[in-house]
């Protein structure tokens, strides 16, 4: 047992030092009936070789987006991660450290969290950001909870363009509260009357940009409507790379911005761990959920960083905390921070531009196929097609040809016939022009 340093000799010696005759004497508080109950159906310990072989077999049973052209988005995006990112996050001092509760020996973590918070604030166009949430969807739910803390109103409206998973996670998180969350429905590319849905008891409106179909919108008018009614505007961004090319929510008047940060530095990993970004106006900071790193000095007057405003948090405030979140996405935030640092201003804008051009080229190629319609006219790296037949089986047919060809409407809105022919397609910088051609050819065949 390669991870356990004790030996029969050392165990015997230690039991003697403790003054007991057997290990089970130390377990004598456990009811005898339940101690050492036999556990059936699990193997004994395995060699590293055998374990690795098992996982290689599991891996081989999947179609990997690194080998198949991948056009799937929907809140998680297949981006290239520079090798440097993965190397650095595996530094022992990052990987195997705990939450920085002892700041004298955790300045590394604290400083990168401070840098991360600044990057998130800059990208979203907001004043402050926290040190991460679990993911974009849960951050969205937390934003709604926060809005109610801020203005004490009792109703929230969710745009129909909000990703159904964000919607569901938000509904779930607010389910047992004493306020109401209303989720609208919307067709791709269609305009919603969100402003009209705001009443005097509306705490917040949640809108995603680009929306789940990929459509981009100017949120300025909605922000004005919110301001006029005293409601907060919460903007969700599922593809953070879009912020390199698109007017950020902060500039359009958002009060809280939540985002999924996976696109920068974090592998898809079948859906998690990802990293939720959470930014807001400075005046709301004491209502924010999650950890915050702040600047201060040590007794020698040297600039230092520390977790701050802990009075919001569960370990101090217990049932009155702003959130129950504790362990969040530290290492993913680091990956995000490193990737964003590598990109820098010019890299970030170039990456966004490349994504956009790739998606635009894909949209052009695919919508040129007979019977295929483009349902989103203004988009970043994701758009929605309407196919002449249900998209679910088409996606299966594409997979058999080795193309991961987007998300069928039936996956996100099961049972909704009106959206069954929709195919939501994303194209990032990892998509080559040959990949687009392969997709086009395969889709043509699948539709033929």
């Amino acid at each position: 047992m390669r991870y356990l340093p004790q030996t029969p000799d050392s165990r015997a010696m230690m039991l003697k030092a403790i003054g007991v005759g057997s290990i089970d004497e130390l377990f004598d508080d456990v009811p005898a009936r339940v101690l050492n109950a036999p556990i059936e159906g699990l193997p004994d310990h395995m060699s590293e070789m055998a374990v690795e072989r098992h996982f290689r077999k599991l891996a081989a049973d999947n179609l990997s987006p690194s080998t198949a052209p991948c056009f799937i988005g929907g809140g998680a995006y297949h981006h290239h991660i520079p090798a440097t990112v993965d190397h650095l996050i595996q530094r022992s001092e990052f990987l195997t450290s705990y939450t920085p509760y002892q700041p004298e020996i955790a300045q590394g973590t604290l400083q990168y969290l401070f840098e991360f918070q600044t990057q998130v604030a800059l990208l979203t166009g907001m004043e402050v950001a926290n040190a991460s949430m679990y993911d974009g969807a849960t951050a969205c739910g937390e934003a709604v909870l926060m809005a109610h803390r801020v203005n004490k109103r009792r109703r929230t409206v969710l745009s129909g363009g909000l990703h159904p998973h964000y919607r569901d996670a938000t509904l779930n998180l607010t389910r047992f509260t004493d306020f109401e969350t209303v989720a609208l429905e919307a067709a791709p590319g269609a305009e919603e009357d969100l402003a009209g849905a705001i009443d005097d008891d509306t705490a917040a409106v949640v809108v995603q940009n680009p929306d789940v179909y990929g459509q981009l919108r100017d949120l300025g008018p909605l922000a004005e409507a919110c301001r006029a009614k005293g409601a907060l505007l919460i903007v969700a961004v599922a593809e953070v790379v879009s912020l390199g090319a698109v007017t950020p929510p902060g500039d359009m008047g958002a009060d809280i911005v939540v985002a999924e940060g996976q696109s920068l530095g974090v592998p898809l990993s079948f859906g998690g761990p990802h990293v939720g970004l959470f930014a807001c106006r400075r005046k709301f900071v004491r209502q924010m959920p999650g950890r915050l790193a702040g600047e201060t000095v040590d007794v020698d007057g040297r600039r230092s960083y520390v977790l701050t405003l802990n009075a919001r948090e569960q370990h101090i405030r217990r049932e009155k905390a702003t959130s129950n979140i504790c362990t969040n996405s530290g290492l993913c935030a680091l990956a995000f921070c490193i990737h964003a640092t590598l990109l820098g201003e010019s890299g970030m804008t170039a990456l966004a531009d490349l994504n956009h051009r790739t998606a635009a080229a894909a949209a052009e190629a695919l919508s040129a196929i007979d019977g295929v319609g483009l349902k989103t006219d203004v988009f970043f790296n994701e758009f929605t097609l309407e196919l002449p037949k249900p998209a679910g089986p088409v996606v299966e047919a594409l997979a058999e040809k080795g193309v991961l060809g987007g998300i069928p409407g039936s996956r996100l809105w099961p049972g909704d016939e009106s959206r069954a022919r929709l195919l939501i397609v994303a194209a990032t910088e990892t998509v080559t022009e040959e990949d687009i051609a392969s997709f086009r050819d395969a889709l043509k065949e699948a539709l033929a």
């Binding site: 030092a17 009811p31 193997p43 440097t84 002892q102």
Partner: protein, 487 residues
């Protein structure tokens, strides 16, 4: 030496990435093209590497030394787990791929579920919660959903005073009032107080077992019976499952829901504060309320159930959970096997009791008797010395250790909670005991100055936390902006 912020290392136009040219295409951004600069700094790759390597060296880590942080289970993180989590076909799977293309990924989740339900002796598990607190939320939501399904409304959840802060915070998020149960003099639930608080408005009890004092709740089976008798449910905080894994099945104790911190018991790295992963196992009674998605096997193929008609807890997370952590945890379990996991619990308890035995004559334990996986001391041993728990903790840093958990649990004055974990060897424990004894001796000898000054050998000395909270500086600003903000 100070490491400047990335924002202080900027040069315009510099970047640490090169991108391919890509296709030409007309813009589809409408009028929404970004107008101003983002404000990100430009660094080359070598600068980025050096920056983060330098930052890393300001951190303490398990890989560097002993990390006896009670209740956090800072044990060895095997690199095999990191390796398999990064395999092509696992690390790069998209959560929305057609299920026909992710059969290996779904099988992996199914296998993990099998291990977790078998080890806990409980029939169902929800894998999706993102961390321990999120698992608690999921568990409490299931309890609430069960009452809602029955059309029953209850108002209180009983929580011991010694509980993790997440417990009351979680109960509050489910709309429950928290009713605190005191501990008896042995450090366990005061059964008399517990029974007095029971009633038909009690939705459940949230208990950590072994509890945050490092003790097994001797009356746990009785507690389960009594909460069930009033129609309530038994939620167990599984943060300390490391102490009993392979030795005791929580299902045998009458527990209805328990979250498992994969990043504690099953050693997925803490990563400076996450990501964690908090699957929740459920009893038969609560299983129908477990949230989706869930993997089911049908005729040798695996399906991902994302929607059904039940009265379940809703979606906990954007996708299927912390899959990357599932890979690591499963690799850890397979590496240990059934026999090894039992040994884990035994060695964790052995190591904690060894530290307890080695210190108890100089530092009085908070409670009598053996402990489980962690040893709890109060600051009584320091009484009158002028040195407090924090001073002792900071002095330990100068000795090359990460401090134990301090001032938690709240029920013990000046608490010091030491969890060595099973991956430490005897030599390390002996040396730690020697150093601790030396420090306590110095404190008792009145050498207070050292404790007030400590740490002195660290990248930073004690920080002005008040200043940080009074005038929060939460981000870098260009100098002009910072000056304005300060005005």
């Amino acid at each position: 030496r100070d490491e400047p912020l990335i924002f202080e290392q900027d040069a315009r136009g510099r970047s640490g990435v090169d991108l391919p040219e890509g296709p030409k295409a007309a813009s589809r951004l409408g009028g929404l093209k970004r107008k101003g600069p983002i404000g990100l700094p430009g660094l080359s790759e070598p600068q980025v590497v050096r920056h983060f390597v330098r930052l890393s060296r300001m951190n303490y880590a398990i890989d560097y030394g002993f990390y006896p942080l009670g209740s956090c289970t800072m044990k060895h993180n095997p690199r095999l787990n990191e390796k398999v989590a990064r395999l092509g076909g696992l690390g790069d799977l998209h959560p929305m791929q057609p299920v026909s293309t992710v059969q290996g990924g779904l099988r992996l989740m199914h296998e993990l579920a099998h291990w977790l339900t078998t080890l806990t002796g409980m029939p169902a598990v929800a894998l999706s919660p993102g961390a321990g607190a999120h698992g608690e939320l999921c568990g409490l939501m299931a309890i609430r959903a069960a009452f809602d399904a029955k059309g029953e409304s209850r108002s209180r959840v009983l929580v011991p005073e010694s509980a993790h802060g997440t417990n009351p915070a979680t109960a509050a998020m489910c709309g429950y009032a928290v009713d605190a149960i005191p501990a008896d003099e042995s450090g366990r639930v005061d059964m008399k107080a517990f029974e007095e608080k029971l009633g038909d408005d009690v939705a459940g009890v949230m208990l950590t077992n072994p509890n945050t004092c490092g003790l097994f709740e001797t009356d746990i089976v009785e507690i389960a019976e009594k909460i069930h008798a009033v129609g309530g449910y038994f939620y167990c905080d599984g943060a300390n499952f490391n102490a009993i894994v392979g030795k005791v099945r929580p299902g045998d104790l009458g527990i209805d829901a328990m979250h498992i911190n994969l990043h504690k018991t099953f050693s997925t790295p803490h990563g400076g504060g996450g990501p964690g992963s908090g699957p929740v196992v459920f009893s038969e009674a609560l299983a129908p309320y477990a949230p989706l998605p869930m993997v089911v096997e049908k005729d040798g193929a695996f399906e991902l159930v994302e929607h059904d008609g039940g009265q379940r807890v809703g979606r906990m997370k954007g996708f299927h959970g912390q899959f990357g952590m599932f890979v690591r945890a499963l690799a850890y379990m397979m590496s240990h096997g059934r026999d090894g996991l039992k040994q884990v619990a035994e060695d964790a308890v052995l190591n904690a009791n060894y530290v307890l035995a080695g210190l108890k004559d100089v530092l009085p334990p908070a409670y009598a008797g053996h402990c489980m996986h962690e040893a709890l001391f109060s600051d009584k041993g320091l009484n009158g010395s002028g040195v407090d728990t924090m001073g002792l903790a900071k002095a330990l840093i100068d000795e090359g250790y990460h401090p134990m958990t301090v001032y938690f649990p709240l029920v013990v004055h000046g608490a010091m909670l030491i969890e060595p974990t099973e991956t430490e060897n005897r030599g390390t424990l002996d040396e730690f005991i020697r150093v601790m004894r030396g420090l306590v001796e110095k404190a008792k000898a009145g050498e207070t100055e050292m404790f007030e000054q400590a740490p002195v050998l660290t990248p930073r000395r004690r920080l002005d936390e008040t200043r940080a909270a009074r005038n929060p500086v939460l981000r870098w600003q260009p100098e002009e902006a910072a000056a304005e903000a300060a005005d």
